[in-house]
């Protein structure tokens, strides 16, 4: 089992993000696993790290309305490798993000307070 005294699952994920990569894990039965874990769900077995090709499909989407800000997109993205994550689709109005839309990953660099995180952009220009 992976030691947690030197590196955490999230720590490894963030190292990949700093390289512009979206990392995920695969269990011994080949299932994709996300979020990153120290042990495989269901089996308790070991997990291997992989790097996603970065292509996915919007599974669901909402726009949140904070006072004094434009609507902010929040989406669940189903990655082609078979895992799902919460993220945001950028470079498009929040309300124009549609279920079924194909999207491409990029790493958001974060800032002093926020570690880097994955965001998405539409694969094709919206019609």
């Amino acid at each position: 089992m992976q030691s947690l005294t030197e590196k955490s699952p999230l720590g490894t994920f963030l190292e990949h993000l700093e390289q512009g990569e979206l990392a995920y894990q695969v269990a011994e039965d080949g299932r994709a696993v996300f979020y990153p874990r120290a042990v495989a769900p269901r089996t308790g077995g070991t997990l291997e790290w992989r790097v996603s090709k970065g292509l996915g499909t919007v599974y669901s989407t909402t726009a949140v309305y904070y006072k004094g800000e434009p609507p902010l997109n929040i989406a669940l993205i189903d990655m082609d490798e078979g895992f799902r994550l919460m993220s945001r689709v950028e470079e498009i109005d929040a309300m124009n993000v549609k279920i079924g839309m194909r999207v491409r990953f990029r790493a958001h660099p974060g800032d002093d307070k926020q570690p880097p995180y994955p965001v998405f952009t539409p694969l094709e220009a919206p019609k």
Binding site: L10, Y35, Y59, S60, T61, T62, A63, V64, Y65, Y66, P71, L72, I74, L76, R84, L85, M86, S87, R88, M95, I99, G100, H108, G110, Q114, P115, Y117
Partner: protein
Amino acid sequence: MSLSRGSVAVVGAAESDLGLVAQHTSPLDLMAQGTIAALDDAGLQLSDVDGLLSASTQSRFAPMALSEYLGIKPRFFDGTSIGGSSFMTHVAHAQAAIELGMCEVAVIAYGSTQRSVSRAAASPREYNYYEAPFRPISPISSYALAAMRHMHQYGTTREQLAEVAVSARKWALKNPKAWEKEPLTVEQVLNARMVSYPFTVRDCCLVVDGGGAIVLTSAARAKSLRKKPVYVLGVGECLSHSSIANMPDLTVTGAAESGPQAYAMAQVKPSDVDMVSLYDAFTITPILFLEDLGFCPKGEGGRFVSGGRIAPGGELPVNTSGGGLSYCHPGMYGLLVMIEAIRQVRGECGERQVPNCKIALGHGNGGALSSQCTVIFGSEATL
């Protein structure tokens, strides 16, 4: 070994003060007030209580704090905390404890001052790296994502969501204890301030203070107490995930598992149920639960709630108190969901009473559609 249909009964049920309580009132004040009112309802004393179950986001070790407050040393205690459905789970656990002789009189209590102290103070969020950067309004955005998926797959509309809020308000106007006192229209719901699409503020539950308690004991002891016993016919529980990104299918909740468990134990089917009390945190949740609990086919929930079917005078009485949307929603509303179902079986609901209500279903929801627990209550005639 499994729980036995009708082995325990609810013998006391009461709300604490609801709405907006005085400054410096604590959640424990409300739990204690509800506990004594529920014991009075049953004709029991604090000294009879040997089981105590409680959960609160404002009291991390609620059974400990409430035991101290009440000056009792319960033999059995449980602080299972899985959000708004915690108290349905407490019913199952209390039933198990009573059946095993671990206690005889169990109190389940809840209290919240989230309106007085603010939601942020009452229910501080745990940090989750996989959600925090995207700034969801928790938990509203999680439910909005489920609603959007339901709308996409089944053609559910914002107007149908609004029908849930409008029906709840019609019931609330028949409940003197309801927070909301004015009528509500579909147009008002749609045109209210948008929070997280497709939800306006009127698609979202109230943020008020409140709490209460229920008292359970063995069916044998229940017969000698003040009120007609309301028997626990069936219980079912399901934990399917924690955060919304890990919910396998956003249109199918764990109610599809907890419901059949409860029906099997109760030996009833949805068409036997006279009244339904569903955790309506948001307008999508009764739609999902009506489907998953077998009151309509999957995907039909939006059409099912339309045309006043779940409003007063409709085919299926749902959330006759006015629900979390219009009556009271003190953060973890599941206890009040059950209190209304219990009162309907007792026939205590006045203007909103469902005629000849023998079987009532209470369904609780917690987290981001994460914990689903169902309790089926029945009158003596159903044993």
